[in-house]
Symmetry: C2
Subunit: 483 residues, 2 copies
Amino acid sequence: MGKKQRTAITPTRAEDFPEWYQQVIKAADMAENSPVRGCMIIKPYGFALWENMQGVFDGMIKDHDVENVYFPLLIPLSFMSREADHVEGFAKECAVVTHHRLEASDDGLVPAGKLEEPYVIRPTSEMIIGDAMARWIQSYRDLPMKLNQWCNVMRWEMRTRLFLRTSEFLWQEGHNAFETAEEAQEDSLKMLEAYRVFVEDYLALPVITGEKTEDERFPGADATYTIEAMMQDGKALQAGTSHNLGQNFSKSIGIKFQGREGDEEFAHTTSWGISTRLIGGMIMTHGDDDGMIMPPRVAPHQVIIIPIVRDGQDASTINTYIDDFVAKLKAVGIRVKVDNREERTPNKMWDAIKKGAPIRVEIGGREVDDGVLTYIRRDIGKDSKTTCSVADFVSDVQGVLESIHDDMFNRAKTFRDENIKDVDSLIDITDYFSHDANIGFVRVDTSIMDLPGFEKALKSHSLTTRCMPFANDGKKVLIGKAY
Amino acid sequence: MGKKQRTAITPTRAEDFPEWYQQVIKAADMAENSPVRGCMIIKPYGFALWENMQGVFDGMIKDHDVENVYFPLLIPLSFMSREADHVEGFAKECAVVTHHRLEASDDGLVPAGKLEEPYVIRPTSEMIIGDAMARWIQSYRDLPMKLNQWCNVMRWEMRTRLFLRTSEFLWQEGHNAFETAEEAQEDSLKMLEAYRVFVEDYLALPVITGEKTEDERFPGADATYTIEAMMQDGKALQAGTSHNLGQNFSKSIGIKFQGREGDEEFAHTTSWGISTRLIGGMIMTHGDDDGMIMPPRVAPHQVIIIPIVRDGQDASTINTYIDDFVAKLKAVGIRVKVDNREERTPNKMWDAIKKGAPIRVEIGGREVDDGVLTYIRRDIGKDSKTTCSVADFVSDVQGVLESIHDDMFNRAKTFRDENIKDVDSLIDITDYFSHDANIGFVRVDTSIMDLPGFEKALKSHSLTTRCMPFANDGKKVLIGKAY
């Protein structure tokens, strides 16, 4: 046995996956905990990733004829009570605004100006958007109405983890209203499919699409559809959900309209959301023991260039060569960054690795003399080291990025598929997960859910049903541990 | 005298400017009041405008090497107290979070889970971002640090008005830290200049750049710079501000670093913001008695096309003609919308007018037969009615939009310049504004501010100092009524 390979991240995934996760975020400088309980600060590199994700998905939203809007942050307390399941689902974790100013006192500043009716900081906006829809929708001619907002929401979580579960997070929430049940059903599946395309084709996260069991539905929904991803520790991450709310919310809020026959009908509504949690999913799917690996299509920097200037060497020729190269890359639409910091070259290389730029380019005096460059794929590492001409790199770079995307996706998909096991009974399930070496999901006939208290029993083993996959025509249910 | 000209907006600007303003927003369907006290709902058309504004200014921010981030919505109460002037400035209008869940009681849902330390919903983020900078900045090598966030903020306003003054609003807040006082000063002026370029070149709002008087400074700032616009009723609108915070915030929060000589120094910080209030400024600068006029460079739809189909006429030829035209416009980067609603043609025309699309195109059977189209500039109206070939329109449309922008800007600038009067004394000032016909600003030597209680006296006449314009080398002060 040789000596232990040095890794950039300590501990490794195998040693302590949750701690590895925190250390990857720190090493990539993506986010950190804030002095506000359970709330994170998204740092420039993490936010640049989120902006790229937003840019892509916002385009997809608009292609679906959804219009962006902005609704108030605060929800009147009385609104929360209108849908019984909904309030039940969110009352336990609401930030409540009770006062509207601060006053000096012997104890320092204290809240003053008590509000007649308290407000809740939105945990989600079905109620306040539904209330507006009730005013805006008069006739079937006003339908469909499709609205979305990119905003912050707040759920007072007790155990938080950067990106995965924070008291405040950023998301998009779509809220659509339709004339018929069929349209609402079709729409909730269509938005789920938009999520699948987005996370698979842009974030390189393979997901299983399916329906949540009744126990796992969004509070107040008729049906919740989900995309479920498997992390490298085998745990599930719910990566996005789309809800068919039927007429539950429209009846409790009063979204009614004059139908084609002149009769009064209630709208059929849907809601759908993805959040900054997806960033946690990308880290836990793609990261390795050297840190983050950014999926190329949303990577803040697709190519990072490290000038290699030896002590006493004149940097100007190298810099001119790099400037010219950068201009060529930008001309073909590549997001590129040059690491020009006053910092030792090995540190720059390790920073590029930890931050996970898909392609690292090294250019020193020798490269300049030969009119070439050296590049390394982050996902493969030094075995991918290639020297080629600048012209070849510029013409091939899109293709290399595509290959990185495909390889990242396929590696994650292979891992996932290898870690799904078909079983037959509750005993099989608990037995499977009782072995440390067994991770991932088990798949079992949905008939198992007829066992009284089945999902409660699962939970006592820290297991949950993830979804009834569409691929199995809803006849199987996937079970696993989850984030 | 002929009979009164019909206008799309009632009342007219002359009849009741504030009510005209509300009616323009309603007629253009941009925003409305929400059930949450003082908070607005930004509707799709208003939000599309904000998105275009964001897109432009976000690019300018990035050109200034500022990085986007996201900080928590909630500010611990203790943070607010750290800068005395700052808390004094914001304590009177803070939304305070005191509880973290809801509980059922005989009175319905009530706040429960009282927090040990209350939180304030950010009215601005100097304190929470400064606290992070204090951790992140160790050495002069970490400077400059330039951060920005696009977010919601909350100030509990008592008298609110859509866009202009709402309890919650959307904005960007930039927070920069520098090694030297000179850099901070230069930066606050540079960001002010970015605002001037943005509002003049994209929103067609002429502004006066200058410094605020000491009384009107941002709480805790050494200097506040401002861009001031004049609305059509002569009132001022503060359209954006940039603050040189000196070392006030860095000292109270502890943003210190090891300087080049190894000594410990405090950073010099700046902050700068613009908000959805700018939309109010655009309405009150550009709107007319028929409604909104959108500045072309940020207009949600630069061209709106109205198909004119007579009863019994086959629409398909017209629609094909329009589809082809739309494709050509999109190919040259024009934001275009076709009004395909089942609605009477005159109503469509009036909606286009009220929403203020810069160019309205009408295409009916006659246009199709002749291979032409008819267009009308919103800012000029029917006198600009022109018939030309599709090819000519497509090749000229950018130029027409530029002319509209320039004309809108120049009209507003002429109006403003005509309504600034030079005066010499406090008596002159109050006398000027005592005549209903006199609107706008007066300009007076800054020496007038030596009069004890001068600005307080002004306020008793509902007047405020707007700024000491750079154009007058800071030797004059502008005074007016303000939003």
